[in-house]
Symmetry: C2
Subunit: 501 residues, 2 copies
């Protein structure tokens, strides 16, 4: 375990949230110390120490035997100049891995444990494997509600926290799982037009056919600098921006980058993730939307209630005013699924177009109404009417136009993808169900969200009687291969349940 000295070299490989070090196979140090591939090493300068996973290199164009290469992330973290002399040593695992092992063994962890874990993750001391171990061990129902609170608080402590300097900063969040559900783009202009501060930042779609940021991007620029965002929110009381540029609860982003590819999702982690992000963004009042339905994320009312209590418990501990609304998640909301089609729906509602999807309008008014009732000057039960007045009078549209202009308006074109396939009813009868998962899958295969114009446009929804051969929805795509895949998928399973008469 004798330290040895090598010259630092930057290796222009982006290994995302994992530090990777590159050593040449002929490097004396590698040979003497018997470092094994995959083992972690400690890299030190006089001022700084970092941990990195080791990759062994056989090409001197990448590193020579007297150099140690660092991936972008690691290089920036070490913050030392090229060719600077560094020492390398075996690394002990991050100290908080002891707590992770206790969690694997089924023990309950304390606040201190979660703070150490999130700090070590924020400082890139965890390998992706170690993060996966933490996520699986604390997944499912392995965190009790106190632990969810501890994890939320710990994640909140690792990043910046915005302060808007106002007593009431509203936000909304839907736990997801229902396609087309673009309510934020209606709630924000309505609530901001009422005068409440609602600085909404959203994510891009990762597993869904469109996120709010992808959809807003059809109308305006969403990639805003923190300074620009602040200015805009001050002026218009609201915004619809992409949340990726601010360093809010960064550990949440890192954990999501592991959670998503693994496809694991637990209630405790979801609550901690949502609340740490919202609190970091400076929200004081938060409305959580939990859609319930057989093909939604939450399938039974009893699950929705358990989740509501967990949100309420953690929210109360962290002193945020939090309300939960349980909504109908039995079918997609609105008509369009995919960025362009969803943006079209939103604009139809704002225009008070009689053709606009009424379910999207209605749901957005309910949510906006509940948020407006956070205002102490609004009498309980009056929120909905206020929201409706704002929408009907055109004030919501005015506000939206102002926000679009400030963020930077894009040329609007709602023409969907040129390749179009009409899916027909297989029987005559009543549409009784539409499968959220299948519709999302067809829209994604058609190219959404990458191809903005791709997606699905629903013509008839549940409660409507159709005749055999009548068009129930259209698939739009921009590329021939995507189009063929999506058509094929819809032919196998069109996602509609029609009860024959």
């Amino acid at each position: 375990m004798n330290n040895q000295t090598l010259k630092l070299r930057r290796v222009a490989i982006d290994t995302y949230h994992e530090n990777v070090a590159y050593l040449h196979r002929e490097c004396e140090l590698y040979r003497a110390e018997g470092f094994q591939a995959l083992s972690k090493i400690k890299i030190s300068t006089n001022n700084q120490k970092i941990l990195a996973v080791l990759n062994v290199v056989d090409d001197e164009a990448i590193v020579t035997p007297t150099e140690l290469g660092l991936s972008e992330q690691a290089y920036q973290q070490l913050a030392a100049p090229d060719d600077c002399l560094i020492s390398v040593d075996h690394a002990e695992p991050a100290a908080s891995m002891d707590a992770v092992r206790r969690k694997i063994n089924g023990e309950r962890l304390a606040l201190d444990d979660f703070v150490s874990i999130t700090q070590d993750i924020a400082e890139s001391r965890y390998s992706k494997m170690e993060m996966a171990a933490f996520l699986v061990a604390s997944g499912q129902n392995n965190l009790d509600r106190d632990e969810v609170y501890f994890l939320t608080k710990a994640m909140l402590q690792t990043g910046q926290r915005l302060n808007w300097g106002e007593l009431l900063v509203a936000d909304k969040h839907c736990i997801g799982g229902v396609p087309g559900n673009r309510t934020s783009m209606l709630v924000v202009p309505i609530v901001a037009a009422h005068g409440m501060l609602i600085p909404k930042t959203s994510s891009r779609a990762i597993t869904s056919p469109a996120g709010t940021a992808d959809t807003m991007e059809i109308l305006a620029e969403v990639n805003l600098s923190p300074a620009k965002l602040h200015e805009l929110v001050r002026k218009h009381r609201g915004c619809l921006a992409w949340g990726g540029t601010a360093r809010l609860a960064p550990v949440d982003d890192i954990l999501i980058s592991v959670e998503r590819p693994l496809g694991i999702d637990s209630q405790g982690q979801m609550v901690a993730s949502i609340l740490s992000k919202k609190l970091a963004a400076g929200s004081t009042h938060l409305l959580i939307d939990i859609p319930v339905g057989p093909t939604a994320k939450v399938r039974h009312m009893r699950q929705a209630l358990a989740l509501r209590k967990l949100f309420e418990f953690v929210g109360d501990q962290l002193n945020i005013h939090l309300e939960v609304i349980i909504t109908n998640g039995k079918q997609p909301i609105g008509r369009g699924i995919g960025p362009t089609l969803e943006a079209r729906d939103v604009m139809q509602v704002l225009e008070n177009n009689p053709e606009s999807p009424q379910d999207l309008r209605q749901k957005s008014l309910i949510l906006a109404g509940r948020i407006i009732e956070f205002d102490p000057d609004v009498r309980g039960g009056q929120g909905f009417a206020i929201a409706r007045d704002i929408l009907d009078s055109g004030r919501a549209m005015e506000k939206m136009q102002a926000i679009i202009k400030s963020q930077g308006a894009h040329t609007i074109d709602f023409t969907p993808g040129e390749h179009c396939h009409e899916v027909k009813a297989k029987y005559s009868g009543l549409i009784t169900a539409i499968d959220n998962l299948q519709m999302a899958k067809i829209a994604r295969i058609a190219g959404a969200p990458m191809d903005k114009k791709a997606g699905v446009d629903l013509i008839h929804k549940t409660g409507v009687s159709v005749k055999k051969g009548e068009t129930i929805y259209r698939i739009h795509a921009e590329f021939v291969s995507d189009f063929a895949f999506a058509k094929n998928l819809a032919t196998q399973n069109d996602g509609y349940t029609i009860e024959k008469k």
Copy 2:
């Protein structure tokens, strides 16, 4: 999801058991498809498809925007020539990840699930994260005994299986945790001298101060080709080789490479790991040694019994004759800890040197005796006497010399590391306990197993009365810095419990 074509390039980075693909940030494909760092991609030629984790590169010396680079492992798996045209696409996670998610959710998996998981792992379809998720989900007591059997059987199916063409192929295995416990190097020559086939392959130390392979290497070459190994075993009935060259139960090696850095260890995985390796090596009769003691791997007799039953259950299902012996793990076995010192102990026992450590001799005779009783011609209870006769008569030493010669004798030098520190008794009294973990740690910090001559040499063990200031053990090291660290560690905690008179 439209395929695009890039030129293949080999990138000489060894990413161990994980496929990594390198795309330039300016590559059209990367930009168009919005691949995100860390996401998995599918790489196809006309004949072959592989999955790989994506790293983004900003240096054209590594890959240019029209190339796709592959790490060594991935390049070999794709088996296509440089500059060949390949298609790249988003990858779905390996199908068996569904089973892993079911395991995370607490479900019981079937044999088919374990077969799919191990096949996907063997074919590098799992990222390290995904392997960690599988290990944590199936860790602790999350596998019932049927699942342990399924996992063992599945791991066995993924690799080669040796067939020695004999009805009785003996082996032994100790679950570990007791330093100095080098019984295999005595059991093999005794059992082989009796005429039983015992083709023992061993591992190198990973977390301990010496493995059997490291210790045998003091005496002879241990890195043997499969052909050489076979020839040697036919001739001498036994060998003491390193097991790393044969591709036996390769999934076990891959999982261990994830398990070790995570520091997780579960009974189910240990049983599956040991039995799949032994069955793949062609063993028909196996003796398992479970040392029990307060600082051993297994701390209580009830745990040892549970583990015994699990070994027996899985062994019976897989049709291997398996016996378990529970031994005293209250202190290190023998005197030396570290390759050179342990090899010296072994040779003293074989020489029938009166100075030889009696506990090592006695334990080895008990184990060898139990194995000799696998022989149908040996009367129950006679094994120990036969083993003792073989050792006392010098036939065990003759056999060992023959094995050493055949494997390739090394020049023997038992001189320990030149830096020597004598640790003295702090009180006068009776030595009542020696901490296995602390002694192993001191020996490792002193440099073992990398520095073969480094380690700890125990002068007095439990049951002996010592006077204050008398030497209880010596620390040997080859490097000054290691020596200082080890001395320091022993000063903090010498690992001995001495009851004052």
